[in-house]
């Protein structure tokens, strides 16, 4: 009776297809149980096929038995993988995974806000073609004052309270002495910025500290004019503070520049309406600048008739305080982690 065997083989193949299709549709524990009862239970489809094995001729039994066993283990595997599929995401029997637990690993560190401001300022001038130079913090009177047209015993020296190390050696009160050092080293054109730390012998308070950082700029060449100074500062300020910026220039006094100016921008906290930060004026003073004084050019053996130039100085702490809304300059030097981590 070869057709009994053939029929059974045909049904085995068919059941394999049906079970596979059914298993693919399992979406719940109920579906899974239905599948088990329909196919795998003792009275299920597989069991029924095994029952039919009895009537298969003896010579075909081993081959068909093997097929049946293969069918059962295939259907078992379908059952197990379906079970795994429905239990895995939060099923009551599998391992529960709380994806809301915090991630492991460490926070990335922070760059000090002073450094960030300094880098931002410097990078703008670097992109304009300024080079970067450096100078000593321990300076002599000549570079810090005399060569910069501060005569001895002149009240202009009162503008910068000085820490002295010896009678003639002091902590630089501004980055401007580097102007002298650079110009003595090279002939025009000179176009550099000087970032650095400077010191003032002033009582420490929320508004002033005994040291701060400046970015000094210097450009000397033939035909450099006040008009270009203004243009450069406006370009810088728009790049740094935003292009919608409003600004004004007013005359000021520094012994080493003439004419001298100070630049004010509209207070960006109150948009010029007046607030505590801008002392209700609507304006913030952001930098000082001017045309290099002929006496300074003479001191470095540049002919003021041939060369003219401009210089500017930007206070980094002041800028940092303004742009981050920091109320007390001392916070910058306390280095409290709760402060540092905010930047």
């Amino acid at each position: 009776m070869p057709d009994i065997a053939d029929n059974l083989l045909h049904d085995i193949a068919e059941l394999r297809g049906v079970a596979e299709h059914t298993a693919s549709l399992i979406a719940s524990a109920d579906d899974l149980e239905k599948y088990r009862i329909e196919f795998l239970a003792r009275k299920g489809s597989v069991g029924q096929l095994f029952d039919r094995l009895k009537s298969v001729p003896i010579e075909s039994k081993p081959a068909i038995g093997k097929e049946l066993n293969a069918l059962r283990s295939f259907l078992d595997s379908l059952y197990l993988s379906a079970k795994e599929k429905i239990e895995k995401p939060g099923g009551e029997k599998g391992q529960f995974i709380d994806l809301t637990l915090p991630g492991r690993g460490e926070a990335i560190g922070t760059v000090h806000p002073i450094t960030q401001t300094l880098q931002d300022i410097v990078s703008i001038f670097v992109s304009m073609g300024f080079g970067i130079v450096d100078g000593p913090e321990i300076e002599d009177d000549y570079h810090n004052f005399e060569a910069l047209n501060f005569p001895p015993d002149h009240p202009a020296r009162d503008m910068q309270d000085t820490f002295f190390i010896e009678n003639d050696v002091l902590l630089r009160t501004h980055t401007s002495p580097v102007q002298i050092r650079v110009m003595k080293e090279q002939r025009p054109p000179v176009r550099v910025v000087v970032p650095g730390r400077v010191y003032r012998n002033e009582a420490i308070s929320a508004r002033s500290y005994c040291l701060f950082h400046q970015v000094e700029g210097l450009y000397v060449d033939k035909n450099v004019s006040f008009s270009e100074l203004k243009g450069t500062l406006v370009a810088f300020a728009k790049e740094f503070y935003g292009s919608g910026l409003k600004y004004k220039f007013r005359p000021s006094f520094f012994p080493f520049t003439e004419p001298s100016l100070e630049m004010d921008i509209t207070c960006f906290l109150c948009s010029g309406k007046g607030c505590r930060v801008c002392k209700h004026t609507g304006w913030l003073e952001v930098l000082g600048a001017g045309m290099v004084h002929p006496n300074v050019l003479k001191n470095v053996d540049y002919d003021p008739e041939e060369f003219t130039g401009f210089a500017f100085g930007i206070g980094v702490e002041r800028t940092t305080i303004l742009r981050h809304g920091i109320s007390d300059i001392r916070l910058l030097f306390e280095n409290d982690l709760r402060f540092l981590k905010q930047f």
Partner: protein, 816 residues
């Protein structure tokens, strides 16, 4: 410098609001830093006139008054208020101070604390009362509370009380830069205002009735140091009655922040703030032999100044003397011995021009800040002395009843003339980038008192008045033109070759280090480079000290960043942040022998360093790991990572170096025998000085050594195509054997096939015998040419095991 708007109006017609004027002054370089309104406490107080009084029907002590308070706006009839008053001195016809409904009375005389209160419409025992007639006490201008304040009959009914008292003023605080001494007075500011507003300055008209003996017959002046005192002018006023100044004068002085003292002193102060010329008033009767001598003091001489302080003089101190003794420090401060007192009747007025630098030296040496010295050291106008002293004398005659003696003593041997400065119009325009015509320049300069004369084409000769000592050369005139033309009007031109196309962060070594450390979770700090010298000196012999520190704790420059880093650590631990990973890129400072060449200032060296600091827990505590305390290996790992990044493999660690004064467990970093820096654990005694209790690990590396070595381009080495063979070996060795020695031996024996040695376990204790430890290492073998066979690998491993065993008496514990 405080400038009163009312006072300023004496010299120039100001048809402009104070705010607008402030803006204009600022635009020419006289920065108005603040604007203060005075007299605000008298808002809603006016001058009233009592029209009639009648007794209150229900109260004996009260009077019902009808008070006129002037015309209401838009009405022709006087506004009459009914006010109930309790003062005994109230009568019809008096001019009085009336508080209107809504006014805040500064002091309540029925309240023991004198608290202010607000007036309302009230009924007092059945009578309406709309306002209050005030006493001196209630207004806060005196202590008399016994009756109402009766004003001068000339007071204008309806005028605001502030105006009546001369208090309705606006005061500017102007930041006068040191180059503008001419602006340290109201006339000086008026001159600038006139230039901006195209107005005219009216100087005060001085009429002096000279009705006493010629001054030169009574007094003599002998200037023996004409360099220190190029001009000495004086006047004599006698018969003076010293008394409080009149109201207007007191108000003027108060408005600029001066305290009224008496009419004589007040007049000299007034004239100083008017002309900018400091005056000094001596009691003429106290000038011995009526002789004034201007000459220097001798070294060590003592002198008591007006403030009662005894000063020690030097041979360079210029003094005013009488026949026997010094009576004033010239231009700085007068003396007690010739001071104006209540009994003074004779006033000798000094109006001099002293050498600015001489005054400055003296004032600075003695530490005296006086209004006079402030002006003299910046430079007063030598040609104003007589105008100023005339003005003061006439005022004394007027308000102190004095008689002005005929003539002025004026010792002025060498007249200081107006300066002549050449100005080229082309130069102005070239420097400013403008196109201003010569006639406009002339007009601008004329507006500030500089007359011009055309010399040749494009050149003018400018005559600069002596009140502008700051204008010495052409560039100073360029600035005058620039500021009067207006900075705003000058075009904002770009530098011809600016463009932003190359904007990039410049990738220097420091930025690399900074990024690397941030990536490793470090926070950058910026610390104070000034520190307490007593803290650092025990650790460093060459500390740079500050001669004039603000305070003891900021009295030296740090010899190492470790000190300032410890301050940051202390601060954070105090605030509950004990787990710290910090770094700083900064400088250290040291004194070196003068002979040693340094980059800049002889005798001093500055070193750029990067310092790294770790303390507290290694990892932040998380939900399935507890933090382990940081140890030296954590810091070593970080430093190694940095050095790997910058120095590649050129550095060596030198162990067991005991030279570091700051740390123990110190490892020194060298590069080809040159010192780069160190790392270690901060010594306990140093921690104690900073009140830090936890272990702190620090490293300080020289930036110049790091950066010099950095290669611009790193050369690529292709990785091998063949698989590596790994073998793990555990050696048991004596406890004191260093890992570095084992590693060196392994590398030596391993030969060219050995590509890496990794230590993965260090073990001590049972079951190992006492005095032993085990190092478990993983060895990686690899060939660039082929896949290594078992045999080839085994040969190398055998060599390694044998070599290590022989060299250290090591025993192979296990291998796999």
């Amino acid at each position: 410098m405080r400038i009163s708007f009312n006072w300023l109006s004496k010299y120039i017609k100001l048809k402009i609001s104070p705010e607008k004027l402030a803006e204009k002054l600022t635009s020419v370089g006289l920065e108005v830093e603040s604007i203060e309104r005075l007299g605000g406490q008298f808002d809603n107080f006016v001058v009233g006139e009592i029209v009639s009084v009648r007794k209150h029907t229900n109260a004996d002590k009260l009077t019902v008054c009808l008070v006129s308070v002037g015309k209401k706006r838009g009405s022709t009839a006087d506004d009459i208020l009914q006010i109930v008053c309790g003062a005994p001195n109230v009568t019809a016809g008096q001019k009085v101070a009336v508080g209107l409904v809504g006014a805040v009375v500064p002091r309540n005389q029925h309240d023991p604390a004198g608290k202010p209160f607000t007036l309302g419409n009230v009924k007092i025992r059945g009578e309406e009362s709309s306002g209050m007639i005030c006493s001196e006490y209630e207004l806060g201008i005196g202590e008399d509370a016994n009756g109402i304040l009766v004003l001068d009959p000339s007071a204008k009914v309806g005028a605001s009380l502030a105006k009546h008292f001369g208090l309705d003023d606006v005061v500017f605080e102007i930041g006068i830069t040191p180059n503008r001494p001419d602006c340290l007075s109201h006339i000086g500011i008026a001159r600038e205002a006139a230039a901006i507003l195209k107005g005219k300055v009216e100087l005060p008209r001085v009429h002096i009735r000279e009705n006493a003996e010629q001054i030169s017959k009574e007094f003599s002046v002998d200037v023996r140091n004409p360099e220190g005192c190029p001009r000495y002018s004086a006047r004599l006023v006698t018969g003076v009655v010293v008394a409080p100044s009149p109201q207007w004068l007191q108000a003027s002085l108060k408005s600029v922040g001066l305290r009224p003292i008496n009419n004589v002193v007040d007049v000299t102060n007034f004239v100083m703030f008017e002309f900018g010329q400091p005056l000094h008033a001596f009691d003429g009767d106290l000038i011995h032999k009526k002789k004034i001598i201007v000459r220097n003091a001798s070294d060590g001489e003592k002198f008591v100044t007006l403030d009662g302080i005894e000063r020690t003089l030097t041979a360079s101190t210029l003094m005013i003397w009488d026949a026997d003794r010094p009576i004033a420090i010239a231009g700085v401060m007068g003396g007690m011995n010739s001071e104006i007192s209540a009994s003074t009747t004779s006033v000798f007025l000094e109006s001099a021009f002293f050498n600015p630098s001489s005054v400055r030296k003296t004032a600075k040496r003695l530490g005296i800040l006086s209004d006079a010295a402030f002006r003299f050291e910046r430079g007063t106008d030598p040609n104003t002395t007589v105008d100023a002293v005339d003005r003061a004398a006439s005022m004394l005659a007027e308000i102190a009843g004095g008689q002005v003696h005929r003539g002025v003593i004026d010792v002025y041997p060498k007249k200081i003339k107006d300066r002549r400065v050449r100005l080229r119009t082309e130069r102005v325009n070239k420097l400013l980038g403008t196109n201003i015509s010569a006639p406009s320049m002339k007009k601008m300069l004329a507006s500030i008192g500089i007359s011009t004369q055309s010399k040749s084409k494009g050149v003018m000769l400018c005559t600069v008045p002596t009140f502008r000592p700051d204008i010495e050369q052409e560039i100073d005139l360029v600035e005058e033109v620039a500021r009067l033309h207006g900075y705003t009007k000058i075009e904002d031109k770009m530098m011809s070759n600016i463009d932003f196309s190359h904007r990039s962060s410049h990738g220097d070594a420091l930025a690399q280090l900074r990024n690397a450390l941030c990536g490793l979770g470090f926070n950058e700090v910026v610390t104070n480079s000034l520190i307490d010298q007593t803290l650092v000196k025990p650790f460093s012999p060459n500390v740079v000290e500050i001669k004039n520190p603000i305070s003891k704790d900021l009295s030296a420059l740090r010899p190492s960043t470790v000190f300032s880093m410890l301050q940051a650590v202390y601060h954070n631990i105090n605030y509950g942040n004990g787990d710290l990973k910090l770094f700083e890129i900064g400088r250290t400072y040291e004194k070196v022998a003068k002979e040693i060449p340094t980059a800049f200032i002889q005798g001093y060296k500055e070193n750029g360093v990067i310092s790294v600091c770790m303390t507290g827990k290694r990892n932040t505590v998380s939900w399935n790991s507890s933090g382990r305390s940081i140890d030296i290996y954590d810091l070593k790992g970080v430093v190694q990572a940095l050095l790997d990044k910058i120095l590649l493999d050129k550095f060596q660690f030198i162990y067991y170096d005991s030279r570091s004064p700051l740390t123990e467990e110190t490892i020194v970093v060298e590069k080809d025998g040159t010192y780069v820096g160190f790392l270690g654990k901060v010594k306990a005694d140093l921690l104690k000085k900073f009140s830090v209790e936890s272990d702190v690990y620090v490293s300080e590396l020289s930036i110049s050594e790091l950066v010099q070595t950095q290669k611009k381009f790193k050369m690529y080495v292709p990785p091998t195509k063949f698989p590596s063979v790994r073998r793990d070996l555990a050696f048991i060795v004596a406890k004191d054997v260093l890992f570095e020695a084992i590693e060196r031996q392994v590398v030596l024996e391993g030969g060219h096939l050995l590509k890496g040695v990794t230590l993965f376990d260090v073990f001590e204790g049972k079951p190992l015998p006492e005095g032993k430890k085990s190092f478990a290492i993983s060895v990686e073998l690899n060939s660039a040419e082929k896949t290594l066979t078992e045999d080839e690998a085994a040969k190398v491993i055998d060599r390694v095991v044998k070599g290590v065993s022989q060299a250290f008496g090591a025993e192979l514990r296990s291998s796999s």
